[in-house]
Symmetry: D2
Subunit: 277 residues, 4 copies
């Protein structure tokens, strides 16, 4: 069994990945042409209305991930958080991060951002590789050293140790408002292992600039689906309240028929024609 | 145990209810000032990317409903589909409809829209009342007679029979592009039992006009949360693909901090201050 | 992808299958040497304390089935109820039955046992085959004609129609206290399609006698796991209550260490040794 | 809202509690006359075939607990593991233990048994009390000091600190083959707070002896349901394999009709008579 993701992130390639929180947003990401989707713990927590602080359980995340994979969305690349069950659920990659449990989300000012020891995390990487081997699962090791304010040297040291422990890719995350830190990291990175970045805090780092840097095989847009949805729902809800009716907004949102299309109602009707006798 | 919803839909009142598909959209509906929320099977099916055709299971709907109620959203009014477990999960009302199982969604052109016999449905209403009595649950009987093209007389006959069987409210649904059918129904309705409508197909029927009609105690906006979210995600995804980066859209969607607020991260941090020692 | 079950039920073979209700009972069935397991709706309903009358949802059954398959139990043969999701969850066969929804369990005296039309059920078989083709899933068509007191002729007519519609095996179920009806059916069965039986009501039909009959490729023991567990729990609970302590029963039930073994605690400890650093 | 459990464990009383793993075993415990049930993480892990080592998620445990409570079993007393969601799910008490996450089960020889700091655990107790106050939830603090070989003094010190932090009861667990350690602890315990014990390892400590000791308000039988079920299933499975049929065991296990009774099939049939028209 081979994993199409390996090709998409190789030298000279850059996979563009969208974070999602349910099968519908995954389908929209696929239709928009993204190379893959990220079953984001942050987005899922937000959809459930709880902080991204280890409050949703592993099985709740797996259930939603499976619902996404079941619908066949994000076919080429699915990027996610744990191993084993995820591999069997059909994902292409998992991201494991070096924060302690329970964690706080990365961009939360003043959040707890303690890291596990390097050797301990190398063990996790080795375990993840063993668990995913049968499915050719990509193991992406994510270091939060920059999020935890430990500096470039510590981040590079950890990334190298993780690469040596067998990580297929290294995700390095920064909370700076400019991409300088990530650019610095990338310039000093000397291993073959390709990098992954999540430019939420420094939106000016476009894919064009990322390609120039080289070494980076994947960019993940980490929370834009849920932020887009919230923006729209907040505005539409306010307008219905102000107008006391839907007469004004009805034409400005997608039609019910477009929703039917996303649900693939036509496929179901076709199957009914064949099999309902 | 008394149910606050009863007051909100009484004579001279009109409850304005928003359909939602997860705790986050429920929270946004609450913040926008809606009187209640509807855990919409249509919206939830769409969020899972499947047709609204009895494909999601009862327990999947209940799980999401419970997740919404657990977060304390939509406190005054929660309007939903089944009984028993829903009552225990803390909802204020259930809607049961007179379509056969498995069903097709109401606004699907050419969908199967068969109705159960009147006596059979009266039995269901009585069973629902018995199951919800302990929790003072409102049982809303929904007739799809107009959706099934059976005409006003049949719709009125069914509504009266359901009212006599003990329904607390009658939901009458129409797929006409104008509100004439619903207005006709309402004018001819002579029972005390208050009505519920879902003006998706005839958006020009505003709350002001509904109040003039009288007899209607609740208006539900049936799929605007998911349509708003899809509209925004579709557009933002397309723009990121076109721009190959998030530099342009970043300022036009809500910030990560606003998401933190919706997740009530501050409450969690306050609890940590008190209890993490 | 080929399905090992096909061989196990072929001419001259008889697969012996145990019904189970969770991963633990599946593991015990495997250790006991059964050829396969049946994720029994009856057993699962009983474990949840509800009647086997379409009260547990499809997704609750699928979740438990997946938990069983995830643990790698019942490796050769897993026999179950629905298609699609089950095929992707890794099962080897599904059983679909010709009763209307919602159903009553087969052995309930006075239960509702209405059957769907033959053409409708042939459509279901074709749909199931299409859904499972990619995974070489066996589709077992179960007729309840004898349960519904429709007689041997109707049972044979339905079995033939189902076989012609593409069923891989035919499960024929009887509620008689003797095996005469099933023996009669088997003697008159002239198609190549192999049969499946569930001898709950006529326990004297042993595997030796079944082999003599020929044509039958699989025997399923339909509710003995849960009945055994209930027998033991009922007796042990009563004894603890009578003794007001566990001093007498402690030696007569399996030790905690045996439970550890079934949970494969040693494997986990071995993995910890390798990866916990 | 008052909690009946408080009375059952007060001075001079001894509540006898059975551990269970699904609604069926809960129903059997209720029928046997136990004062309450314990939704045991150990039993549930075993039922899922996984080690009791934080592998099952919080939400999987909550789902099963809710399924038990939903069926109305174990009416007087339900003793369990976490708070908040459990309180809303209708449980009477939660047990929180002072082991670090992820944990190993208590009776596993050579398992990791690290404890959290006393102040940290006092914070957890205070948080649990706050979360459960509205439902008058009993918070039972479980110390694993004896399991971790820290000695009687440390166990007493922790128990006192937990009591001072607001714990309603103290559960003290020992892995010794004799009750000496628990007896020593109880003799030296000088606070009003009532104790809870789980005599798995020292089965000779009967309820009569426990009453003599005084101070203990609850005894939990921690894994006897699953051990009884395993014992019976293992034996019945082996016998069916040896006999190649069910002719010999059929009479020695409970009948299908007894299972119907536990599922309350008669209640369902009665409701059908009333409401199916």
């Amino acid at each position: 069994m081979t994993n199409k993701l390996r090709d998409l992130v190789g030298p000279g390639r850059l996979a563009s990945v969208m974070s999602v929180h349910n099968p519908l947003s995954a389908r929209l990401a696929e239709l928009a042409g993204f190379d893959g989707i990220w079953a984001s713990g942050f987005e899922l927590s937000a959809a459930y209305g709880v902080p991204d602080a280890s409050l949703l359980s592993f099985s709740q995340h797996l259930d939603m991930t499976r619902a996404i994979v079941e619908r066949g969305y994000g076919n080429a690349v699915n990027v996610m958080h744990v191993v084993g069950a995820y591999a069997r659920a059909g994902v292409a990659a998992v991201v494991i991060e070096d924060k302690t449990f329970p964690k706080d989300t990365s961009l939360l000012a003043g959040g707890r951002q303690d890291l596990v020891r390097i050797e301990e995390f190398q063990g996790k990487i080795a375990a993840a590789r063993a668990a995913g081997r049968e499915h050719d699962l990509l193991v992406i090791a994510r270091t939060e050293a920059l999020i935890a304010d430990l500096g470039l040297d510590e981040a590079l040291k950890r990334a190298q140790a993780y690469s040596e422990a067998g990580a297929d890719m290294i995700l390095v995350h920064s909370k700076r408002k400019t991409p300088d830190e990530i650019i610095g990291f990338t310039r000093r990175w000397s291993k073959e292992t390709r990098l992954v970045i999540v430019p939420t805090a420094y939106p000016d780092l476009t894919e064009a600039k990322i390609r120039e840097l080289g070494k980076i095989g994947m960019v993940i847009y980490g929370n834009h689906a849920i932020r887009a949805a919230v923006t729209a729902m907040r505005q539409v809800f306010a307008e219905i309240r102000a107008d006391r009716g839907i007469h004004n907004i009805d034409k400005r949102i997608v039609s019910v028929e477009e929703i039917f299309e996303l649900q693939r109602v036509a496929d179901m009707k076709q199957a009914e024609k064949e099999y309902l006798r």
